[in-house]
């Protein structure tokens, strides 16, 4: 097939695709129009039913809590898979980095970066913790809070060095926290079954009024467990990768 023939072939196929797409677009509901019944129904009932003003969290950890358990274990499995794939092999050993291009000058981490990173560690940790523990009253939740909490550890790496990062986040502790987070979520669900309720049923007191930090029963608790699971998983993944850059095959 010559280049010219190929171009014709592409032109006809592309024209056909554009025509089909345009035809399909005409059948879509209007921009910003949601025709399904569930959205409106949940908006009407969620706050009264769950006492959570963060309706997204109410949906994630209550109405579709079972799906969220599955999603939780996607990350758990990813972190576990990463530790298996990136485990230290017998022929690998950790060596001091050797400068192989001696004429090259490596710029040292500037004091500006170190100080800025150090100053951000505290606020980042607080923000992550706040987001993970306020799922019931704001559009946040354990997932977002957990990742931000993990990035506080990455800032420690930026501000200091790898050893400090490792000392503050030992692998055994990360694994334990990750397992506790994922297991806690499932345990909350199973406790409902033990009480003769459906899996993940909200059996804790909902609190006096919606929007209070102590409201929403199991929703806030699940978000907390998701938060520590995600924070540990992400810190473990980043730590694993950082370690990889220090390893070399012997």
């Amino acid at each position: 097939m010559t280049a010219r023939q190929r171009l014709w072939f592409f032109a006809i196929a592309a024209a056909g695709l554009v025509a089909c797409l345009l035809w399909a677009f005409t059948g879509l509901p209007g921009f910003g129009n949601y025709p399904g019944p569930y959205g409106q129904e949940i908006l009407r009932q969620a706050v009264a039913q769950t006492h959570a003003t963060g309706v997204v969290s109410a949906i994630n950890f209550e109405y579709r809590g079972f799906d969220t358990v599955g999603e939780e274990f996607i990350l758990f499995t990813a972190a576990a898979g990463m530790s298996v794939v990136l485990r230290r092999l017998r022929k690998e050993r950790q060596t001091e980095p050797v400068d192989e291009a001696k004429t090259r000058t490596i710029p040292a981490t500037s004091s500006a970066v170190r100080i800025a990173a150090l100053l951000l560690v505290g606020p980042t940790a607080v923000l992550g913790w706040w987001l993970a523990s306020h799922a019931q009253t704001s559009p946040s939740g354990g997932f977002q809070g957990g990742v931000i909490l993990a990035s506080a550890f990455i800032l420690i790496y930026l501000a200091g060095e790898f050893l400090t990062f490792r000392r503050l986040s030992p692998v055994a502790l990360l694994d334990a926290v990750e397992a506790a987070g994922a297991g806690g979520f499932v345990a909350i669900g199973l406790a409902a079954i033990a009480m003769n309720l459906p899996f993940l049923d909200n059996y804790l007191p909902l609190g006096q009024y919606p929007g209070a930090i102590s409201s929403s029963g199991t929703i806030a608790l699940i978000s907390f467990f998701v938060g520590i699971e995600v924070a540990a998983a992400f810190t473990a993944i980043i730590g694993e990768l950082l370690e990889q850059t220090l390893l070399r095959s012997a």
Partner: protein
């Protein structure tokens, strides 16, 4: 309240910015620069979700697209580079 007209202008502006950002990411050939472009693109996507009134997705996109993914990619590049030497 922000008027509907202004909201539409905002939405169109952000959509155009996201399209431009995606093009920049694809057109960047240097690996490190591509990761940085990807990080900025994640930020743009986060703004898009905010403008379309999904603050929860904004937070997720911000943490994953602008922070976690670029860091993981940068570390992978550092590892590969070491092997190339």
């Amino acid at each position: 309240m922000i008027s509907a007209g202004l909201m539409n202008t905002l939405q169109v502006t952000v959509l155009v910015l996201v399209a431009a950002g995606a093009t920049v990411v694809v057109r960047t050939r240097s690996r490190i620069r591509q990761v940085l472009a990807l990080s900025v693109y994640g930020m743009l996507l986060a703004i898009l979700f905010l403008v379309f009134q999904a603050p929860d997705v904004t937070l997720s996109e911000l943490t994953v697209g602008a922070i976690a993914l670029p860091i993981i990619l940068l570390l992978a590049i550092a590892k590969v580079r070491k092997r190339e030497q």
